[in-house]
Every structure is written in structure tokens, then in C-alpha cells.
Symmetry: C2
Subunit: 293 residues, 2 copies
């Protein structure tokens, strides 16, 4: 397993971790000042400062991307709604290209209307079909511009409102169904997965499915921690080391399956980390990355 204890080469900061404190350009500058050369930005944060400005700011500061968040949210009330999600994801692919991201992360969506608190139906099987259709509809464009898509299985507690793909096994089944089985050469695929320890740490088939994914489909690795108790379903993620996820074990499995990319810190935390000064948060991310990732 790679030694992270004295280099920041493989640390990436997902910009949601600092979304409350700073705009994207400041995040980029503060990362660069600390020797963090990789981030993963969210679209709304990019749009807030403008795509070209974001690209320039990255270039000027020598900061690159480990991924771009996010496309998806495919299930919708009707055909025009589904088409809008497909079009929007195609635009996200183009933006990812402008920013030179190595992949676009897909959060695939759940029951239509559920995120607004009013699900239009209860048929999760149908939602899953619509997700497959949505990914299929954007895959050719991803191929055309050479932008891999990383399906992120979300924790089952988000199955209704955010993503009805909830295990690595299920995500990999979708990859295989749409792209055919993994290239035996281990070449990087156009369709793969983003493995976030928060979403998958509990999965009894985690190790097996990470190996199934292999180097070709392991496109991203996100870290944070599961707190005891967890007080909010969405925004109570912990800093690495403060919870019960055995992060080094999972990273070890990832690497033994061929993953050699970044560990991307993504913490949503309305009661704690979003309330601290951004510089403190970044410094602690660095310290924990060295010590407990």
C-alpha cells in the first residue's frame, strides 16, 4: 500500500468540504498554498465563479482535478424531465472536459420528486430502469469526448431521494450491462465507479466487489468517516479518524485491486466542519490524510 504519511501527492479535496466557508477560487488558492495540488469541484461552485474563470484559476495555481461532481439525477416525472436530466449531464461532461477532469461522478437519482419531499411514485425498480436508460443516453457523448463516468453508489439511506444505485455490486452490474464486461487488459473503462467509504463501508460484499471492479472500473475513492451517533442523514459526516470506518483497510483493498489514484476528502457537516475556519479544516484534512487514511 502506498505511503501517504509524508506526501500530499495523492490527497484531493472535494470542494463541498469547504462550500460554506469559501468560493471556489479561494479554495483553489488555499489548497495550492498548502501543497495540495488536486481538488474535486462541484458544478454549482464552478458556476458561481464561471467555468472559464475556474479553469484559469486552476491553471494559475497548478491545481488539477481528481473528478467533477456531478451528473445524473435521471429519473423524472415525464419524458421532458428525463431528457432535461440527460442534456444536463451532457453539459456536465463538457464542463468536466474544459476543467480536464479525469472523470465525471454520477449521482444517479432516486424516486422522481422525492428530493423535494414529494415522491411521484414508489416504484424503485422503474427508477432503476430510468437510471440505466439515462446513463445509456449519455455514454456515447462521454466516449466521443473521452470523459469516463463514475457511478457513485450512495448509502441505502439515500435510495429514495438521491440515488437508487446503492451497492457496488449493483453499480458494476450497470457498468457491465451498458459497456460489456471488463476489458481483461485492465485498461481504463469509460464506465466505472466512485467508491466513497461513507456509502459502502458496511457492505458485506465490499472487498469482493472492489476486486471485481478492478483497476479499469475504480475511477475515484472518497474518504470521510461515519460518526457515532450520526445526527443527520445528509450533513453529519465525520473527519477521517473521528468515526468507525476502517479507512486504511478499504484503501488497502482498493490498491490491491489496482487503484492508484487520489483519496478525495468529502465532508458534509453542518454542525461541525462547515462552522470552522476553512484554513483549520484544510490543515486537519492534511494531518488526518497523513495519519489515518
Amino acid at each position: 500500500m502506498r505511503d501517504f504519511s509524508d506526501s500530499l501527492q495523492w490527497l484531493s479535496i472535494n470542494t463541498a468540504t469547504l462550500r460554506v466557508q469559501w468560493p471556489l477560487d479561494r479554495i483553489i488558492q488555499e489548497c495550492a498554498r498548502r501543497g495540495i495540488t488536486t481538488i474535486s469541484p462541484w458544478r454549482d461552485q464552478v458556476n458561481a465563479i464561471g467555468l472559464d474563470n475556474a479553469a484559469r484559476c486552476l491553471r494559475d495555481n497548478g491545481v488539477r482535478l481528481s473528478g467533477y461532481c456531478r451528473g445524473g439525477m435521471f429519473p423524472a416525472a415525464d419524458g421532458p424531465g428525463r431528457q432535461a436530466a440527460i442534456d444536463d449531464t451532457r453539459r456536465a461532461i463538457d464542463e468536466a472536459k474544459v476543467l480536464d477532469a479525469p472523470c465525471l461522478v454520477l449521482v444517479v437519482g432516486g424516486l422522481p420528486g422525492a428530493l423535494a419531499g414529494n415522491a411521484l411514485h414508489k416504484d424503485i425498480v422503474r427508477a432503476r430502469f430510468e437510471v440505466q436508460e439515462g446513463i445509456h443516453a449519455v455514454l456515447q457523448h462521454a466516449r466521443d469526448v473521452n470523459m469516463p463516468l463514475a457511478i457513485e453508489p450512495l448509502h441505502p439511506m439515500y435510495a429514495a431521494d438521491r440515488a437508487c444505485i446503492n451497492t457496488l455490486e449493483q453499480a458494476l452490474d450497470v457498468c457491465d450491462a451498458l459497456e460489456g464486461p471488463l476489458d481483461p487488459s485492465g485498461a481504463r473503462c469509460m464506465l466505472g465507479v466512485a467508491v466513497d467509504v461513507y456509502h459502502v463501508w458496511w457492505d458485506p460484499k465490499l472487498e469482493q466487489q472492489i476486486h471485481r471492479a478492478g483497476r479499469g472500473r475504480l475511477l475515484a475513492f472518497h474518504v470521510c468517516d461515519w460518526l457515532l451517533p450520526t445526527r443527520d442523514l445528509l450533513n453529519d459526516r465525520g473527519m477521517m479518524g473521528d468515526g468507525i470506518i476502517d479507512i486504511p483497510r478499504i484503501r488497502g483493498v482498493m490498491e490491491s485491486a489496482g487503484y492508484q489514484g487520489h483519496a478525495e476528502v468529502e465532508i458534509f457537516s453542518s454542525a461541525d466542519w462547515w462552522r470552522r475556519p476553512g484554513g483549520d479544516v484544510l490543515d486537519i484534512c492534511v494531518e488526518r490524510f497523513h495519519r489515518v487514511v
Copy 2:
């Protein structure tokens, strides 16, 4: 699928649903008054009125059990701790026998110490081994007194602190490992599963695994609903019909796999149902049972 619209024969009330409003004897009386002849009590509620008193109260009111909650919580800090959990589950088996329950529900436990907020280690694989060892250690006693054990896979959001068995597939793997594969005659097994829609509704392999379980291993069926938004990880369950779980679909799968038992209403709800008068809650359980289960 059985018609529940004009009979209460297959309704059971899990007594946690009314734990704040009434002691167990009152719950039994109020159920009987409404023609509800089946409940599933929790041990602490039984102990609060005394085991013999509970048994007499059930008899006097013509109320029977669909299950008894609960044994398990096997992983512990040390050998004596694990032995205490095994001994306690054996006592639960004996109590279930006194109350003439058809099965004892097992909530298997998670990382030792996690429920108190201070996990002693992060090794969920080890916790899962300890769970298997714990079930193995009580299985012979269950056989001796003929009390089937129903492993309840809990939602993955409880993997750390309540149960590290989180999918039906995983629970059934444990059943097969400890008892051998399912009796092809479909005879009722000594080891099976409790299927609670709240815990499993999201599972992409739900239908497949319910059929795998079959009549022999489908020992209990619990209903409530998943609310949007869900405000608390433990105590924000919804009344059937108020959330997004397609309960009739899941009951249909259960019945097509051979299940012919009760639908047991189990609602933990600190902000809503535990604050309402017990009689109102029971009346609404009845109405929803007829209409949306």
C-alpha cells in the same frame, strides 16, 4: 395475495409502537378490544409487568404472539461479554417459549461499544464472525426447546451500532452456513429471517433473496414506512402509507415465496406517533392495515 381489507386476522402490533403510551398489559387489552389478536412484545416491556403476568394477560385476552423481540447483540469487548450475550439470548429463548411465540427475533449487534457511542474497534468483519459464533452457540438450545430464531437484517445505517447483518442475502448466508441449505420440503427451519420493509425496501436483490428464503426461512414480516425527509436515524419511522415504501409489492413477493404469516406493525416515532393517544395510533394502524398493507 391474501385480502387484508376486511379482516384483522393477519395484523400484529409490535408493542414498541405503543411503548411510550402504555404498559404491556394495557396494550394487550386495547388490542383485544379492537379485535387485534396478535402482538409482538419487547422483552423490556414484558419484564416491566413480569413474565408470568404477561403470559396470563395474553391468555385472558385471547391474544397470541407473532414473534418476541429480541435476542442477539453478540459482539462484545471480551469473552465474558460475549458469553453474557449468549446467556441472555438463551434466556430470551426461554421467555419466548413461556409466551408461546412462534419465533425469537435476533438483532445481532454491531461493533462492541458502538451503541454507547464508543466503538472498541473498527473491524466489522470480526464483528460478523462473532455474530455467527453467537448464533451458533444458542442454536442447539433453540432446537432443544423448538424455538425458531429469526435473524433481522437491519438497514445499513445501523451497521455500526445495532446490527452488522444488513442484507437478506447476508442473513441467509448465515442461515445456510449454520444450518445447512434449506430443507427442500419447505419445512419450517430453526433459523430464518425477519423481513422488515423499513430495513430492506431499498435492496436491489430483495425479490431474489425473499424467494431464496422461501417459506421455510421467512419467519416474520414487519411493516411501517420510510418518510421523506427522514429526520432521525432511529426514531422517525412512518405509518404505513405515509412514506415511499411500496408495501403491497413487497408483501406480494413474500406471499409468492410462501409466506402466510402476519404483517407486524413496528413504528419507532419520537416526534409523531409516540406523542399521540395510544387508541388513535391503534385505530390508524387498523385502518392502514386494511387499506395500504
